[in-house]
């Protein structure tokens, strides 16, 4: 089939499926079947090439920030913004962005790719830049082991032709520097020594969980001298952070929930500096960070019956730990909703790798989701009081809101629980993103 015909057909399917409210990846699937090299051919034409952002935690928020930073400097950025981070999701986004002449009006593509799909993607499209964030235990029932995840990201590092930006503080990510192609370069983002204990790697996590003073690295990977980083997160304050950018201190206002988002901001900035090169205006990039808003379900706040309610996506121990560390428990009414569908990860063992001690003072108002009883059991063994258990998300949510009183509300929820809760909230009241 001829190329323009394939594209027009794909665009037609996209239009038709948007009418029936269909999934965002469906038109891309049609394209992939008809013309498999479609994505690679289109992206190869972009003047600044393709940026791949991957890792187990924080991809969506980091991608959003990187896109915003690059756009603020005048670049036209194509991104897979629906969060449908598969090759066919990228193809679907491409179709949405192309004009009637089949041209993509963009200077650079910034793509969020799940580590397993990133491997598939880089076989078809060589990225010019890669930003690799972390390797935390995530959906292990899909990928097996975290060393397997590291090997997947190694394929991305190897395929990158320009610059690979790596997290200096994650031992598995840092080791990818050895895998980068000879003619490509490695740049780093990192944490000050003072902040490192706030972000234990998975290897350190057991010691932190058990609250030993001595945070040691994996016994095979002793702490070694770390390379110099382009961007270092120096200090975290209430609504701002201190960043060291090429040795210059900057203060950025960041209104995102959680210290992990502030570290993601450092990662996005390090990437933007590489893509922009000498034309980067550091001061205005730092300023732009204050205008970043949360990505879907990543700490977004909605207003329900005049009260703020925050939805916090939790999908692995590291993310859950950092979410818990980001607010004092007794200020909030707290609900936790745990599902175990494929997209959540079928295995709920990971809940036992999260330390819930910080919830002990305020307790948890209600737990819900398919695995609500597992969650209640987990909390009980951390001596956290559970108000009630209701596996039905809708009745649990209503009970939670009714019982919250004047307290701001927050719900820690797994992916499919979040989708359901958002839908229920939408039906209960007008859901506003603040």
């Amino acid at each position: 089939m001829s190329r323009p015909l394939v594209r027009l057909l794909g665009q037609g399917v996209r239009w038709a499926s948007s009418l029936r409210g269909g999934g965002s990846a469906f038109p891309g699937l049609v394209m992939e079947k008809l013309h498999p090299a479609f994505v690679a051919e289109e992206l190869a034409k972009l003047p600044h090439g393709v940026v791949v952002i991957s890792g187990t935690n924080g991809k969506t928020t980091t991608t959003k920030m990187a896109v915003q930073l690059l756009r603020s400097q005048g670049l036209r950025v194509f991104t897979n913004r629906t969060g449908s981070n598969f090759v066919r999701g990228v193809a679907a986004s491409l179709l949405a962005e192309m004009n009637a002449f089949g041209r993509l009006d963009a200077d650079v593509a910034v793509l969020e790719l799940d580590e397993a799909h990133a491997v598939h993607f880089v076989k078809q499209v060589k990225p010019r830049y890669a930003l690799l964030l972390n390797v935390m235990r995530d959906q292990l029932d899909r990928f097996g082991e975290i060393d397997t995840t590291r090997r997947m990201l190694s394929q991305v590092a190897k395929a990158t032709t320009g610059t690979v930006v790596l997290n200096r503080e994650d031992p598995r990510i840092a080791s990818l520097a050895d895998d980068v192609a000879a003619d490509a370069t490695v740049e780093w983002f990192g944490l000050s020594d003072a902040l490192r204990p706030m972000f234990p790697s998975d290897d350190d996590m057991r010691d932190v969980l058990r609250q030993t003073e001595n945070v040691e690295l994996d016994s095979a990977q002793p702490s070694v001298a770390r390379p110099a980083a382009d961007v270092v997160l120096n200090a975290v304050k209430a609504n701002s952070v201190d960043l060291d950018v090429h040795g210059q201190e900057h203060t950025a206002t960041i209104d995102l929930y959680g210290v992990y988002n502030q570290y993601n901001a450092a990662a996005a900035l390090a990437l933007a500096l590489q893509v922009l090169g000498d034309s980067a205006d550091v001061a205005s990039l730092v300023d732009e960070l204050s205008r970043v808003t949360p990505a879907f379900g990543r700490g977004e706040t909605v207003t329900v019956e005049g009260k703020p309610l925050q939805l916090l996506l939790v999908k692995n121990p590291a993310g859950f730990r950092l979410s818990l560390a980001s607010a004092s428990a007794d200020d909030y009414a707290t609900m936790i909703a745990i599902n175990d569908a494929y997209a959540d990860g079928r295995d709920v063992s990971w809940l036992w790798d999260v330390d819930f001690d910080s919830l002990r003072a305020g307790g948890v108002d209600i737990v819900s989701g398919v695995r609500a009883w597992d969650m209640a059991l987990r909390l009980d063994y951390d001596l956290v009081e559970v108000g009630s258990v209701d596996t039905d998300l809708e009745s649990a949510l209503k009970q939670f809101i009714a019982g919250a009183g004047d307290r701001p509300m927050r719900i820690f929820c797994t992916y499919t629980a979040m989708l359901s809760l958002r839908k229920i909230l939408g039906g209960m009241t007008h859901v506003d993103t603040i």
């Binding site: 235990r137 292990l140 029932d141 097996g144 082991e145 975290i146 060393d147 290897d203 057991r206 010691d207 969980l209 058990r210 040691e216 994996d218 016994s219 095979a220 175990d340 079928r346 295995d347 709920v348 063992s349 990971w350 809940l351 036992w352 790798d353 398919v370 695995r371 009883w373 597992d374 209640a376 059991l377 987990r378 009980d380 063994y381 951390d382 001596l383 258990v389 596996t391």
Partner: protein, 243 residues
């Protein structure tokens, strides 16, 4: 619940630094909390490669790990094997999960073609299989009743002719996906592939380990029973979940 102190209990966690994957910390935590609720003062001791062997232990517990972690501990395990055999023969209970369970057997031939020597606590052999056996699993044991967990392993384990299994598979794969056995038991040493974590949703196994630990040293275990409402509901739900 008996809050009066009825003595102390020393739990040794084997190789927490290298073998602590898939929430196996939940096993140690469950033992600790339940023992506390029975009235014991609990001390948890970490044992990592190269550490001095603990002076005293009522109970040993150890978890799964990456293959890379297994290589690290295999050598150290060989060094302390006589101590573990001595404790096991004396009746000291142990629970080893997944990676450490494999190393308690005779040998483990990895998917990469390397062979790790085990400490022969169990008469069993493990070979790296072509694919991971992943999913919810339910087993049945005459002593512990229905055991519920989640398995995630590529090793295929075959028990020797006289080696007792820990349980029989009801749904899931178990030791090898073929013969219907899951785990192994010798003296009071239990080996299993089940995560979940295993002990929180299986209080009967947890209490067996605690009771045996106390009785092995000649003390009587308290009569009290704990409130396991959450665990019972969680067990009920887990049994209805797809693989």
């Amino acid at each position: 619940m008996n809050q009066e102190k009825v003595g102390s209990l020393d739990i040794v966690q084997l190789y927490p630094r290298d073998m602590n994957i898939y929430g196996d910390w939940g096993n140690t935590l469950t033992l600790k909390r339940r023992a506390e609720r029975y009235g014991y003062e609990v001390r948890v001791h970490d044992y990592n490669p190269g550490d001095p062997w603990p002076d005293y232990a009522d109970l040993f517990v150890g978890g799964g790990g990456q293959d890379s972690g297994q290589f690290r501990v295999a050598e150290d395990l060989a060094r302390v094997a006589p101590k573990l055999h001595e404790a096991a023969s004396a009746g000291t209970p142990m629970l080893v999960i997944c990676g450490l369970y494999q190393l308690f057997g005779r040998e483990f031939r990895t998917g990469g073609g390397e062979t790790l020597r085990g400490i022969e606590m169990f008469d069993l052999e493990t070979v790296g299989g072509p694919e991971r056996l992943i999913g919810n699993i339910v087993t049945e044991s005459p002593e512990f009743g229905t055991i519920i967990g989640y398995e995630n392993h590529s090793g295929l384990t075959t028990l020797g002719p006289d080696q007792a299994a820990m349980a029989t598979v009801v749904s899931g794969a178990g030791n090898n996906g073929e013969d219907g056995t899951e785990g192994a038991r010798t003296h009071n040493v239990l080996g299993s592939y089940l995560h979940g974590s295993l002990l929180p949703k299986n209080p009967a196994v947890a209490d067996f380990l605690l009771r045996t630990a106390v009785e092995t040293r000649g003390d009587r275990f308290p009569e009290a029973s704990l409130d396991d409402t959450y665990a019972e509901h969680a067990r009920g739900v887990a049994q209805t979940r797809p693989r």
